[in-house]
């Protein structure tokens, strides 16, 4: 989230698209309803979804849409806003790259459906075709000073603004009706309501989740709406933003700590063994790519991170142990689906699974469980025995022929130990131990500590072990029972010699004198002298009282005072970065530093200095000058998006996405329709995993699979159901796998409400209870009646509830394809093809 959960109450309009907040993020609804029930100017809730959900039940406007067509809808909103002059011009002209002149060789060809620089090459060895983009033209024109050329009038046909108008001119309400199945009048009602937030002082927010991301163009879905938010002036303002609703209590935290393969902690890209053989080469490439963005501090982040990793062994001479640090092999994808392809192919031999249940949660689950059969060993560390460690005795498997050695390590649940959760709004909150671990169970960190201990013994004994120093030199100051507060101190960062914790990341050094496990957590755990409020006599007493409770750990603060009445709550736990609740908050005020709305005042220039409610995300004072003087508003107005090159909100994306600087509609890989927007059926850069014989895809218009399907969640269950399907109170509320379908479809198929039905895709089949409802409707797409169904993905074949009475897998993911987003490789689980018949 660019904002935080409580901030939802400041909004004037919610666009909930690709999310079911009421069901999957129930607490967000507390704040949404506060905004909707406000006496003065109550907020509007718009829900656009393939099905009428519990969220939709509270909506002012609801529109049924076809899964996978969001770019058409959002693109048309962009065209509508500009065409109707619903533009916050001051915002667009000052805070975005609208005026930048685009490279004259940049183009998009609707005939071919690709941007300039596209090429298709054939591997001479395998004969396989490879699609790629040379992104050289996805750039702006620069003057002799290296700065972008601009046309402040936004009239030059080469400027970003005009290029954007041209690009989205094809995205008309007629196309929305034709492609999404949203009637023109309904589209206009939505557009008029949402775009009204362009008015100065109004704000609107996008709330999205997997409904937007799980597509082969998921990143571009969100980017399209981000562009609309810039047009309307909705980024960086209270009640605005792009709010990703994270799927688990701590998925933000796990992302921060680099759960994903492409980054290491602190959102630093993973180095590449071919391109970054030295730290110097990594830093050089990074500095070139990030330009003027705050990321130019990367060398400090990386040196401090490596110091935390390798301690005394990390020296300037050995580039802080850069050689030991893991690197990606050039051209190799390490994402979830790629790993399972590699297991299936037999190249990956061992699998360590923690807090995940791929036999239920992974796409093309039959293929993924088959891949597990080819492993030598598998370790599963879990609080419940679930489907994955039992893949060898899954329905239909022959246990005698499976040789994989499976180890199940009992983990304990949060509450049986202490630590932090980082909420979807980046708020890091300490949770306390309220019970003791059961039996032999241990917390994850302790298990890894033990594994490291054993590994060290093995590496020590084997002088020839590869990358031996990386294991032997790892700095590990923790005992067998790890104190999680000490881990938080490492994330916060400290001076290496004195072990004094750092104030925040601004004091990090690139000479190895500071260690920091994750620069974005810098400031979560300061020393007493740096504790917030200690520096002013008027706040000293309160600060001392707070410190007495937290001992410096700011994630333990529980003061819910809302200073300024703007839902900032600065002393409620701690928010990264530097307790900043709304990122890009320079944009909450106009170029002269006055808030767009006095009732949403989080940053104001009073003529001599900045008066802040939130922590500034811009240079409010200049510590480099004597006396740390205030910096007038025009300076920060020229660099409001400090994490982006040139400091401007990007309508034109500068070569950071692989599939285009503007977004373009492509059809889902499995679809019933030809792409009506351009000449490329699918995203040319989509990640298609097709190495195994189990990677099947239905062809366009395959008559065997005439129904569009998607997966989703319900309030009562969580993710792959590992925890909730073992909880009787939750199981009694949602006991069975089900599929929601329209009454019309059910009638044609002879299905009654409550019947068991078979759901089949080209990859697999499962059974489900038919929930026949008006909440799903037959959509009119391209003049054709189109059926959409939806299933929860929580069920499987283990636990006190599997989803049904038979010995089969009730996992919806046996149906989903293993194709993924061009940028992130998240699977396309929200739009694929199935058929349904009565069981």
């Amino acid at each position: 989230m660019t904002n935080q959960i409580q901030d939802l109450k400041m909004s004037d309009c919610f666009m909930v698209c690709g999310s079911n907040a009421a069901e999957n993020h129930p607490i967000t609804f507390k704040w949404i309803e506060q905004a909707m029930n406000r006496e003065k100017d109550p907020a509007k809730l718009i829900v656009v979804d393939p099905r009428f959900t519990r969220t939709a039940s509270k909506a002012d406007i609801f529109a049924h849409t076809r899964p996978g067509t969001d770019i058409v809808f959002f693109g048309a909103l962009i065209k509508y806003a500009i065409g109707n002059n619903m533009v916050n011009w001051d915002y667009v002209k000052t805070y975005t790259n609208a005026s930048f002149l685009v490279d004259p060789n940049f183009s998009f060809n609707p005939g071919t459906g690709v941007f300039s620089g596209f090429k298709e090459t054939e591997d001479p060895k395998t004969g396989k075709k490879k699609k790629s983009y040379d992104t050289a033209t996805w750039a702006v024109q620069k003057g002799p000073d290296g700065k972008p050329l601009k046309d402040p009038t936004l009239q030059n046909p080469q400027c970003v603004w005009q290029q954007m108008i041209k690009h989205y001119s094809r995205y008309t309400p007629e196309k929305v009706e034709q492609i999404c199945g949203i009637p023109k009048a309904k589209f206009e009602e939505v557009a008029k309501t949402y775009c009204a937030t362009y008015e100065k002082g109004k704000s609107g927010v996008l709330m999205y989740a997997m409904g937007l991301t799980q597509h082969t163009y998921g990143t571009q879905n969100i980017r399209t709406f981000a562009m609309l938010q810039l047009i309307l002036g909705n980024m960086g303002v209270p009640g605005g933003g792009i709010d990703a609703l994270r799927g688990c209590a701590n998925v933000q935290g796990s992302t921060d700590q680099a759960l994903l393969y492409h980054i290491f902690p602190g959102y630093n890209p993973m180095p590449n063994s071919a391109k970054n053989p030295t730290l110097a080469s990594y830093n050089e490439a990074r500095l070139k790519a990030v330009g003027s963005a705050y990321w130019s501090n990367t060398p400090k982040f990386v040196a401090s991170y490596l110091k935390a990793m390798y301690g005394d062994a990390a020296t300037k001479d050995n580039e802080f142990g850069w050689n030991w640090f893991p690197k990606l092999k050039d051209g190799v994808n390490y994402s979830h689906m790629a790993l399972f392809e590699a297991m299936y192919a037999g190249t990956v031999k061992g699998l360590f699974v923690v807090g995940q249940n791929p036999a239920v949660g992974g796409p093309n689950a039959d293929m993924e469980t088959k891949a597990m059969e080819k492993l030598d060993w598998m370790v599963v560390q879990e609080i419940f025995d679930h489907e994955t460690p039992n893949f060898w005795q899954r329905p239909g498997a022959d246990p005698g022929s499976i040789k994989t050695e499976v180890y199940l390590l009992p983990a304990c649940a949060n509450g049986e130990y202490e630590g932090t959760f980082a909420s979807t709004g980046r708020v890091v909150q300490w949770f306390y131990q309220s019970g003791s671990p059961k039996g032999e169970s241990k917390k994850d960190a302790d298990v890894w500590g033990l594994i490291l201990k054993k590994l060290r013994e093995l590496y020590k004994a084997d002088a020839k072990a590869p990358n031996r120093e990386a294991i032997l030199n790892l700095y590990w100051p923790y005992g067998e029972e790890i104190n999680m507060e000490e881990v938080l101190a490492e994330l916060n960062g400290y001076v290496w010699d004195t072990k004094k914790r750092l104030k925040n990341f601004t004091v990090l050094k690139e000479d190895g004198s500071t260690a920091c496990g994750n620069w974005v957590y810098g400031g979560v755990y300061p020393e007493e002298a740096d504790y917030p409020g200690m520096d002013k006599p008027e706040t000293l007493a309160a600060a001392q009282a707070s410190f007495a409770k937290t001992k410096g750990n700011l994630s333990k603060r529980h003061n819910n005072e809302d200073k300024g009445n703007v839902a900032i709550y600065p002393a409620w736990c701690w928010c990264w970065p530097v307790n900043r609740r709304i990122v890009y908050n320079r944009c909450s005020a106009d170029p002269a530093g006055q808030p767009w709305n006095p009732e949403k005042n989080i940053a104001q220039w009073n003529g001599t200095k900045w008066v802040m409610v939130d922590v500034p995300d811009f240079k409010a004072t200049d510590p480099a000058l004597p006396g740390n003087p205030p910096v007038p508003p025009d300076v920060s107005a020229a660099n409001p998006f400090i994490m982006l090159n040139y400091g401007m909100g990007q309508f034109f994306c500068l070569a950071t996405l692989v599939d285009g600087p503007f977004s373009e509609h492509y059809e889902p890989i499995e679809t019933l329709f030809k792409n009506e927007m351009n000449g490329s059926q699918n995203n040319p850069m989509a990640k298609i995993f097709n190495q195994s014989d189990m990677d099947k895809l239905a062809e366009l218009g395959d008559p065997n699979y005439p129904i569009i399907a998607g997966t989703s969640r319900v309030t009562e269950h969580f993710q792959s159901g590992t925890m909730t399907r073992n909880q009787p109170w939750l199981v009694e509320m949602q006991p069975n796998m089900f599929v929601e379908m329209s009454k019309d479809l059910a009638k044609r198929k002879g299905i009654s409400n409550g019947d068991w039905v078979k759901v089949k895709s080209i990859r697999g089949e499962t059974e489900a209870v038919a929930v026949v409802t008006d909440r799903l409707q037959v959509l009119k797409v391209n003049g054709k009646d189109t059926d959409v169904v939806n299933m929860p993905y929580h069920y499987g074949y283990k636990g006190i509830c599997t989803g049904g009475p038979k010995n089969i897998s009730y996992a919806a993911n046996v149906l989903t394809p293993n194709v993924g987003d061009a940028n992130t490789a998240i699977p396309e689980s929200k739009a694929f093809l199935v058929n349904i018949e009565k069981a």
Binding site: P26, N37, V714, E716, P728, L730, E732, P735, V769, T773
Partner: protein, 276 residues
């Protein structure tokens, strides 16, 4: 009903997350029941000795517009409570708990030591609150969490369902104040175009302990539009309470009524598979 405590259910804010349903089970240590999906999210299919409250889901599709109504179903703790009236051994009675702030928590409860398991209360109840549980030897229903409310750390604690409610659907407080809040809410809803917005529970059966804000007829939510004490109970009352009646005639009529009630009871058993 001055100073009486009540729960306000503002259904317009309910998202059917059912945290209340789980909180009720958790606080009262009631087990999960074995259920099946019958084509709806609503489950368990009825109240029981182990399920003292549940959220009802009702959906309507009219003029291309979908409405999905949610409401909370449990014992209403009626002032004019049929179950109290009908109970032969006077096992089911009104209870009162005095709270430190001077207010009163009123409930309807059944004393298991006096209960004879006749199930008349079940038949008489206009809200379908369950009757005698053979296995557990008693009648179990919403208690208004008197054990939380009367044992609060501060003035009083709120019932478990209220504590769990995130969107602000449920609130616990002084009945008159809650009614005033609800009236304001209804006015806002009417202004916003909900012509049928109304209060429910203020005057029904001389006042329920649960007050509802609705946007449609109660029946659209699965609540009786005009809850009343069944005619058979009225007859029962008329016959048993005035002692001057000829005993024999009374006995005859009572037997007839008894037969009617038992027949209906069997029907219900069939319908809801009453607890064994």
């Amino acid at each position: 009903m001055a100073n009486q405590k009540a729960i306000l259910v503002d259904t317009t804010k309910c998202t059917a997350c059912r945290a209340c349903q789980v909180a009720c089970k958790a606080w009262n240590e009631n087990p999960g029941e074995k259920t099946e999906n019958m084509g709806s999210y609503e489950n368990p299919p009825s109240l029981s000795s182990y399920t003292w409250m549940r959220i009802l889901f009702n959906e309507y599709y009219k003029n291309d517009k979908m409405t999905w109504l949610f409401t909370k179903h449990q014992c209403m703790h009626c002032t004019d409570a049929a179950c109290v009236e009908v109970c032969p051994p006077n096992a089911t009675t009104h209870k009162e708990y005095k709270l430190p702030d001077g207010s009163v928590l009123k409930t309807v409860a059944t004393d298991p030591n006096k209960c004879i398991g006749c199930n008349y209360c079940r038949v008489a109840c206009p809200f379908d609150v369950p009757g005698y549980n053979q296995k557990e030897k008693g009648i179990f229903r919403c208690t208004m969490c008197f054990d939380r409310v009367t044992n609060g750390v501060a003035k009083y604690d709120v019932p478990a369902c209220v504590k769990a409610c995130a969107p602000g659907t449920l609130s616990f407080g002084d009945r008159e104040e809650l009614i005033a809040t609800a009236e304001k809410r209804v006015a806002v809803l009417k202004k916003a175009g909900y012509a049928k917005a109304r209060l429910y529970g203020v005057n029904e059966l001389e006042g329920l302990t649960y007050i509802y804000v609705l946007t449609d007829e109660p029946s659209a939510y699965g609540l009786p539009n005009d809850p009343s004490i069944p005619a058979s109970v009225q007859v029962w009352k008329a016959l048993t309470k005035p002692y001057g009646l000829v005993a024999a005639a009374g006995l005859v009529v009572a037997l007839v009524v008894n037969g009617v009630i038992n027949a209906r009871n069997r029907g219900l058993e069939e319908k809801y598979k009453l607890d064994q």
